[in-house]
């Protein structure tokens, strides 16, 4: 269907396009130097290899990001057709795959260069504290579906892997600045060489965004953030060594009182080594510190040490075995504000994990992957995450795959340790909280079946489709305390809901001409949840899923115009959200980019062009709405 749409659009559009390519007959007469200076038409660069991965994986390339209107990480994630991205206000996003979207989405694992950016507070991502120089991203791998066998608990509905470019690929100077009606940002990066074939880059970044509008005035959700960092790489024939780090701080506006202050620093070291011809070793150490001071609510300081080892080896001709072990330590200190408390307020958490996976070549065209991960967490002890995948490649153009997996979402501090009020009434020596944590809250579980198909029928077009079905159990609910008044909390978190999701994810890419590419994606899904008998769930906004559209789609067009200009537009539609009710919307973003000189790019961006404003998430009338806006962006490289 998409293909038909694309073709219709193509018939009406591609006639009469001039090619900017130089005469190709004499290209063999050019010198090496001249060859290395030809700017190639980048619209049709096929970043998405028809890979062997038996999973629903979409790759956002550096080029995709550069040609989009995205200026922040969550905005760039909109490029993945298999992600639900809803902007909540200026700085907050609800991001998930395959349903269960909320401001505290907790079923998606996000990594930046191998560093997990989730918070154990609610097992999700605080998007307002994450930033990357988008120009330095090599690619973003977006896997929808379970990834627990490799990635562990929390990779229930998907994994987002942000991979930045090697320092070797970011040499020289980059200065980039963008300004629009509502936000401004600037990045500076410098890359140079180090002894022993090493390279480094340093960067600094500044972001400043105004409060978002809402139907009743302004929502105080603007932010100012500063970030700096570095990355150094030594690429060697037998492996490489990477050292990178970031520091940031920022102020986030609040409706009442002084702003939220965030800050953090992290350091990542990674060593890869090819031991024998067929054996690969990867060793990674992450140190991470974050602070978040929300006046009157809480002040959290989180320190994390994460060590990972992975080893891959070919056994015989048929077995490709990968195994690994990980250990993670976090110390989470939360000073309570006036209303809520996390108890204990100083908690040390340990996670240990061990996984093994064998990819077995049953035949030349048939691969079976079996794997299991055992992970030990602070709250529920050992969890086991098995997975089974079968991939059939009848030829190198197509892949049919199926998968069965079980994953869990381990409890977070919000599930177990959350108490209200801070100073409870004491009755006969027992503190009587209004909200008393979740002493019996267990892991949420999901059993997932997937069937996928990818094909590249011709060099000019390819598409992918995945059907999924998942059964969820022990989903989080808020229940009245069953033990009665002797117990400390009137309400507590329990696992009294279940549900299922089913749907189809599809995307396609069509190179209509050498200068024009169309790509599109569509997800149709049903997310259903129900309460177990006896449940008296009282959670509304962040309990059992209801903020998921039944469908969402996007259509992107990338045009190379004569005169070193590029025109890109994205049309997207998101279906209505049931609760809180958000109407469906469709919007158009356009970017026109002109490579003014060899070093200077000028881009003019129009966002949300079709309507004066639209909401994406949350209950009316106090939710934010996003208005039509224009942005100018300059990028200078030398």
């Amino acid at each position: 269907m998409l293909a038909c749409l694309a073709m219709l659009a193509g018939l009406s559009g591609h006639a009469g396009l001039a090619s900017a390519a130089p005469q190709q007959d004499d290209i063999a007469e050019l010198s090496l130097e001249q060859l290395s200076d030809i700017v190639i038409t980048s619209v049709s660069r096929q970043e998405e290899r028809l890979g062997n991965a038996a999973a629903s994986i979409f790759i956002i390339s550096n080029n995709d990001i550069r040609r989009s209107s995205a200026r922040s990480l969550p905005e760039a994630l909109r490029l993945a057709p298999n992600l639900q991205v809803a902007r909540v206000d200026t700085r907050n996003y609800a991001v998930t795959a395959r349903g269960f979207n909320s401001l505290q989405s907790n079923k998606l694992l996000v990594l930046i260069d191998g560093r997990t950016i989730y918070t154990p507070l609610f097992s999700g991502v605080q998007w307002d504290a994450q930033d990357v120089v988008l120009d330095d991203i090599e690619r973003i791998e977006v896997i929808s579906g379970p990834g627990g066998t490799i990635w562990g608990a929390n990779a229930v509905n998907g994994v987002i892997n942000v991979i930045t470019r090697s320092a070797k690929d970011t040499q020289g100077v980059l200065v980039s600045a963008a300004a629009g009606q509502e936000d401004r940002d600037a990045s500076v990066r410098y890359g140079g060489a180090l002894p022993n074939d090493g390279h480094y880059r340093l960067y600094a970044r500044y972001v400043d965004a105004d409060d978002a509008a809402r139907d009743t005035g302004q929502a105080a959700t603007g932010l100012t953030r500063r970030q700096a960092g570095f990355r150094a790489d030594w690429d060697r024939p037998r492996g490489g060594f990477t050292l990178s780090g970031d520091v940031y701080d920022g102020e986030l506006a609040q409706r009442t009182g002084s702003p939220v202050r965030i800050s953090g620093a992290n350091l990542v070291t990674r060593l890869t080594r090819r031991l024998a011809d067929d054996s690969n070793l990867r060793l990674q150490l992450v140190l991470d510190h974050t602070e978040r001071d929300q006046p009157n609510q809480f002040y959290e300081r989180l320190d994390t040490v994460d060590l990972e080892l992975q080893h891959g080896v070919h056994l015989g001709t048929r077995h490709n075995v990968t195994w690994g072990a990980g250990y993670r330590y976090s110390r989470d200190r939360i000073a309570s504000g006036r209303t809520q408390a996390y108890l204990p307020d100083d908690l040390a958490m340990h996670w240990g994990s061990l996984f093994a996976q064998d990819e077995i070549a049953l035949r030349d065209d048939l691969r079976l992957t079996v794997g299991i991960k055992g992970e030990h967490n602070h709250y529920t002890g050992a969890e086991f995450l098995p997975g089974l995948r079968l991939a059939w490649t009848p030829d190198s153009r197509q892949l049919l795959w199926g998968s069965l997996a079980r994953t869990v979402r381990a409890p977070s501090r919000l599930d177990r340790d959350f108490y209200m009020p801070v100073r409870p009434v004491i009755i006969r020596g027992v503190p009587r909280y209004q909200f008393g944590g979740g002493p019996s809250f267990d892991s949420e579980t999901a059993d997932v079946a997937e069937l996928g198909y990818r094909i590249q029928p011709s060099p000019r077009w390819s598409y992918s489709a995945t059907a999924f079905f998942a059964r969820y159990d022990r989903l989080r609910t808020q229940e009245p305390n069953p033990q009665g008044p002797a117990y400390s909390g009137l309400t507590e978190v329990r696992n009294m809901a279940y549900g299922n999701t089913r749907g189809i994810e599809m995307w396609a890419r069509w190179q209509a001409t050498d200068n024009w590419r169309l790509s599109g994606g569509l997800v149709v899904q049903g997310v259903r949840t129900a309460l177990r008998p006896g449940s008296r769930d009282s959670s509304g906004s962040f309990g059992v899923a209801t903020a998921d559209p039944s469908h969402y789609w996007q259509l992107r067009s990338s045009h190379d115009l004569p005169g070193d200009m590029q025109l890109d537009w994205t049309l997207r539609k998101v279906g209505a959200l049931p609760r809180p009710a958000v109407p469906s919307y469709h919007e158009l973003d356009v970017q026109w980019l002109w490579k003014a000189t060899r070093n200077l790019d000028v881009a003019l961006i129009g966002q949300n062009l079709l309507h004066r404003s639209h909401p994406e998430f949350g209950a009316a009338p106090n939710r934010s709405v996003f208005e039509r806006s224009a942005v100018l962006r300059l990028t200078y490289r030398f």
């Binding site: 290395s36 024939p237 490489g240 011809d277 959350f418 029928p457 489709a465």
Partner: protein, 200 residues
């Protein structure tokens, strides 16, 4: 982003019917498209756009002139180039080398399938291979110049690896890999290379 706790109670949604008819329709449509696509007999290679493909082919042609091969053959023997997983580059290379010679030797281009022998070839370009290290290792053992087009091409054993840098096709060179393949690279090639890897 603060978790605020207690929300008003709400009714439980009912669990509706099993298979949405819309979904069934989509599956059907998808399968139809899939089957129609599978029936088309198209070349295997992934798409590389014209200009990028031409630049890479031109580079491959040029490389031959800047490499001293260990076992020089007598005068008129063609320089044999094998191209794997990039039929369009092979076609382009065959087109531009037709009627041209390198040091008086013509160039013969062959499209390779995985597992094809590479003995007697002077250069092997591995565009897309499921086991890149193996292809490059075989090339090195046969004294052929192994060229890759992969993010980690050099780590996988390529002597020369294409990289896309700031919208330009550049190449990086590994001297240890050249040594293993008994190849001598001219200093001019190294001076144009975007990056030269030395030592282990």
């Amino acid at each position: 982003m603060t978790p605020t706790a207690i929300a008003p109670p709400r009714p439980a949604p009912a669990l509706p019917g099993w298979l949405n008819p819309l979904l069934a329709l989509l599956v059907l449509a998808m399968l139809c498209v899939a089957l129609s696509g599978a029936a088309v007999g198209q070349p295997v290679a992934p798409a590389v756009p014209n200009l990028e493909r031409s630049v890479k082919a031109a580079y491959l042609f040029k490389f031959l002139g800047y490499v001293e091969f260990a076992a020089p053959k007598e005068g008129e023997t063609p320089l044999a180039v094998g191209v794997m997983g990039a039929d369009d580059v092979a076609a382009e290379l065959a087109r531009i080398t037709a009627g041209r010679t390198i040091n008086g030797r013509p160039v013969a281009v062959r499209s390779l399938r995985e597992g094809d022998p590479v003995a007697g070839m002077q250069m092997v370009f591995a565009g897309a291979a499921s086991d890149l290290p193996k292809v490059l290792r075989t090339a090195a053992q046969n004294g052929a110049l192994g060229v890759a087009d992969d993010e980690n091409g050099l780590q996988h054993g390529a002597v020369i690896n294409f990289r896309l840098v700031e919208d330009r096709v550049r190449f990086e060179v590994s001297l240890p890999a050249a040594e293993r393949s008994n190849l001598k690279l001219s200093s001019r090639l190294l001076s144009v290379a975007w990056h030269v890897q030395k030592g282990n």
